[in-house]
């Protein structure tokens, strides 16, 4: 299908492989980018895009594979090497110093002037030239912290240009931009193209691929899933490559049960950006409900507001307006403590950062939220009751450990996640929210966690499962909600859904006026 391959592309990455302990991130991936080409690098979360980009930026070393630039092999051992070769990466998280001026940021470390003194006039002139060329109407002495997100991105681009880049890599550059700002960015990218500068463009918004990109490469599970000219494919074609035909959900569907009454109802939750958090993800009128015994799946791409929604309901982050009804009763939840009192549990997305106490024992981790169940004389821990409780969950959840006194840090991801699930089960929750419940855990443990969630639902708990893995959502959910940019974009019964439908609902354009 790559019929008109450039005989001498600007960049050719061949058979790039990279493994991390327990996971093969890239299993021999190829990427070719032509001169002056805008190239889309696509794939689901975890497909290997970011690892590939880190290798190209010199931030990570590949285990094997070669990189050729202009037909000559290059070694990118560190970011400086990449810069010297004219490859500059603009990450989602900008690397600007907010309290320094535009000029200082653009030329940091490469200021014009003598060895000791910086020639300020030259610096400002050079900066103005660059910023004007991409349409940034700000003086070179303006502090970066006073700029909007879009303007900061332009400073990053100006810096890339100042390094005489041949190839600029942009990792999800449009995720934090408004429509008008996206248009402006695309103008800049086309301007670069006219100068013969190539761009690698990572995005989750497939419509953008068709607006701006010439060619595409799709990764799936650390492998090449396909590549070709954008003009010769369609959104459907790319989605098919991203999710993969063979990845049919391996579900053992739960017997159709009559769900109980509505356990949790959420009405019109709104959270807006504030001055202090201009990059925060907004929530716009999020409404839904979950019934007793039901698993509600929530699908969406990273940054769609799924986690933010969960944290708002759980009282971990405040929201501006909206109502939460539990068992039909309006409830104000201002902290996780209050959420727990009302029978809500949350298994957060980042196990190590947000759920586990890595320096503490398994048993201490497991019983941390359930001290009321294991106390004696009110203030003391009854170690025998605690041991019994831990042993109970160890068997029920099949947590493989040497001893409950072992540090939780020494468990595998799957067993760590079971400890976190047990922590909440020990509280007897009415509602359990699980955010990326199987991220980074083994395939075998994954199935176990899925079955656990289904058992919980069968026992009458209302389960909300957030996941970026569509097969997972299709496996465990009874009903699926899709979100994008803080809004609910659709709802579908699991029985009627498939990955392509979900992907379309997740990436559907949004009427931003709403």
């Amino acid at each position: 299908m790559s019929s008109q391959t450039n005989p001498r592309p600007l960049l050719r990455m061949s058979a790039i492989a990279k493994s991390f302990p327990g996971v093969v991130a890239l299993g021999g991936v190829d990427l070719e980018v032509g001169r002056g080409e805008v190239h889309a690098l696509l794939g689901e979360n975890g497909a290997g895009k970011s690892t590939l980009l880190k290798i190209l930026a010199g931030a990570q070393a590949s285990d094997s594979g070669t990189i050729e630039l202009d037909g000559l092999p290059v070694v990118l051992a560190n970011p400086q090497d990449a810069h010297r070769q004219g490859i500059v990466t603009i990450y989602q998280e900008f690397t600007l110093a907010p309290n320094m001026s535009i000029a200082d940021n653009v030329f940091v470390g490469r200021e014009p002037g003598s060895r000791l003194l910086i020639n300020d006039r030259q610096l400002d002139e050079a900066t103005s030239q660059l910023t004007k060329s991409i349409g940034l109407e700000r003086g070179p002495r303006t502090l970066v912290r006073d700029l909007s997100v879009a303007e900061q991105q332009m400073v990053e681009i100006a810096r890339a240009l100042s390094m005489k880049s041949k190839l600029i890599v942009m990792d999800e550059p449009t995720s934090a931009l408004s429509l008008a700002e996206v248009d402006k960015l695309f103008e800049i990218v086309l301007g670069l193209k006219a100068q013969g500068i190539s761009t690698i463009f990572v995005t989750h918004r497939l419509e953008e691929v068709f607006r701006i990109c010439d060619r595409y490469t799709v990764l799936r599970d650390g492998q090449n899933a396909g590549a070709g000219a954008v003009a010769e494919t369609s959104v459907e074609g790319i989605i098919k490559l991203m999710v993969g035909r063979e990845l049919k959900a391996l579900s053992e569907r739960r017997a159709a049960t009559e769900f109980g009454p509505v356990m949790l109802e959420v009405r019109d939750i709104v959270r807006l950006r504030t001055v202090t958090s201009p990059q925060a993800i907004e929530l716009r009128n999020v409404s839904f409900n979950v019934r007793r015994g039901e698993v509600l799946g929530i699908a969406g791409l990273i940054g769609a507001g799924r986690t933010e929604m969960a944290r708002a309901i759980f009282g971990a982050d405040p929201f501006d307006s909206g109502h939460v009804l539990i068992d039909g009763v309006e409830t104000a939840i201002r902290s996780p403590q209050e959420a727990i009192v009302h029978g809500i549990g949350l298994v957060p997305e980042d196990r190590k950062q947000q759920a586990l106490f890595l320096s503490l024992a398994i048993k201490t981790n497991l019983t941390m939220a359930a001290h009321d169940r294991i106390s004696r004389w009110r203030y003391f821990i009854d170690s025998r009751t605690e041991a019994g409780l831990v042993d109970d969950y160890r068997q029920r959840l099949n947590i493989r450990m040497a001893h409950p006194d072992q540090l939780v840090a020494n468990l595998s991801g799957g067993n760590q996640q079971k400890v976190v699930l047990a922590r909440w089960l020990a509280l007897g929750p009415k509602i359990l929210i699980v955010d990326e419940p199987t991220r980074g855990i083994d395939v075998g443990a994954k199935v176990e966690v899925h079955n656990l969630l289904l058992e919980m639902a069968n026992s009458g708990i209302a389960v909300i499962a957030i996941s970026s893995e569509l097969p997972e959502i299709l496996t465990i959910a009874d009903r699926i909600l899709t979100m994008r940019e803080g809004r609910v974009t659709g709802e579908i019964l699991s029985a009627d859904a498939d990955q392509e439908k979900l992907m379309k609902m997740m990436t559907a354009p949004i009427d931003r006026a709403a």
């Binding site: 320096s359 939220a369 106390s375 072992q406 595998s412």
Partner: protein
């Protein structure tokens, strides 16, 4: 895609040197140090000197118990020396019934007696800790800064309260707490041991202790597990204040005097004791047992240096170097743990 094997059956045989060292190094080092001093200077092992060490250690040890709670939450308290001075002066004034006869010696003093004096010292300590705890949690100022401020505020308060001068001479009931003995054992040593056991029980067997470790180990996870993180943080500074007050009372009783410059530089000795005892400045790791050993280690070291006629200037240098080395070891052990985890 995944090729890992479930390997959750514990430490796979391999001897965990760093785990072992972190646990027992202080104790081993303590014995080595004592052996060296004993060989160089036989007087070191005399019962008089050993009880002398025990009494000295009891004073900073009381503070180190409180500091263990604070450091377990990844906090720090630099104000303890100043708070101690202030609390001691208040206790002395209460014992004396005012500041008018501050130099009257012996039992002809007309005051409110030692029980009220002790309560006053502890009350001042708790109040000081509570205010600092509130500043840390409500104003969101880092503990280092709040207690650095407190260090200056309480020292100023002590100087102001006593107009710079000491208050000395207490009745026998008061003095007993610093100078008395039960059998051959000095009273401060008993106070220290009782407090150490109580603190050990609180940290190891009580819900509160669990929560202290949790907040220090991972504050975000603690919050998401439904713990009231702010209340726990305020509590540890209150506990620290309690021990500063108690220590102020015992120290003034031992010296038969309270003065505004008491406790200067104690924060360093105390933090060194806690850190050498294996408590991590990053929070979540540490024991009272370790702190007792760490306090003994510092006490033995200082005593031995005195006996060997090493100047007090050099002692300060040695304490400073030790604290940096102890933290370096902690950081190193942490990075090892991270790699292993």
């Amino acid at each position: 895609m995944t090729n890992s094997t479930e390997s959750d059956t514990g430490s796979q045989g391999g001897w965990d040197f760093f785990g072992f060292a972190a646990k027992f190094a202080p104790l081993i080092f303590l014995f080595i140090l004592m052996a060296v001093f004993a060989i160089v200077e036989p007087r070191f092992l005399s019962s008089v000197n050993l009880f002398n060490i025990a009494r000295q250690v009891s004073v900073t040890g009381l503070l180190a118990i409180g500091m263990t709670f604070v450091i377990l939450t990844a906090g720090i308290d630099l104000s303890i020396g100043s708070l101690l001075a202030f609390a001691g002066l208040v206790a002395a004034a209460v014992a004396k019934g005012g500041l008018s006869d501050r130099f009257t010696v012996g039992d002809d003093a007309i005051g409110f007696g030692w029980p009220l004096a002790a309560l006053a010292a502890i009350g001042v300590g708790i109040a000081g800790g509570f205010i600092q705890g509130l500043a840390i949690t409500k104003l969101r100022v880092p503990p280092f800064v709040v207690t650095l401020g407190g260090m200056s505020v309480f020292r100023g308060a002590a100087l102001l309260f006593a107009a710079g001068g000491p208050i000395s001479g207490f009745d026998p009931g008061y003095a007993w707490w610093g100078q008395g003995k039960v059998g051959p054992v000095p009273v401060p040593v008993i106070v220290f041991l009782v407090c150490a056991i109580a603190a050990h029980i609180a940290l190891s067997y009580m819900r509160f202790g669990r929560r202290v470790y949790a907040v220090g180990g991972n504050p975000e996870a603690a919050r998401l597990s439904g713990l009231n993180v702010n209340r726990i943080i305020v509590s540890v500074y209150v506990i620290m204040g309690f021990f500063a007050g108690l220590c102020a009372f015992v120290l003034s009783a031992r010296l038969n005097s309270a003065e505004a410059v008491a406790g200067t530089g104690y924060e360093l000795t105390v933090i060194a004791s806690v850190v050498i005892g294996g408590t991590s400045l990053f929070g979540g790791i540490g024991t009272i047992f370790g702190t007792v050993v760490g306090s003994l280690l510092i006490g033995v070291l200082l005593n031995g240096l005195v006996i060997l006629n090493v100047s007090s200037y050099i002692q300060q240098i040695i304490i400073g170097v030790i604290i940096v080395l102890a933290v370096a070891f902690d950081t190193f052990a942490k990075s090892r743990r991270k790699r292993a985890g």
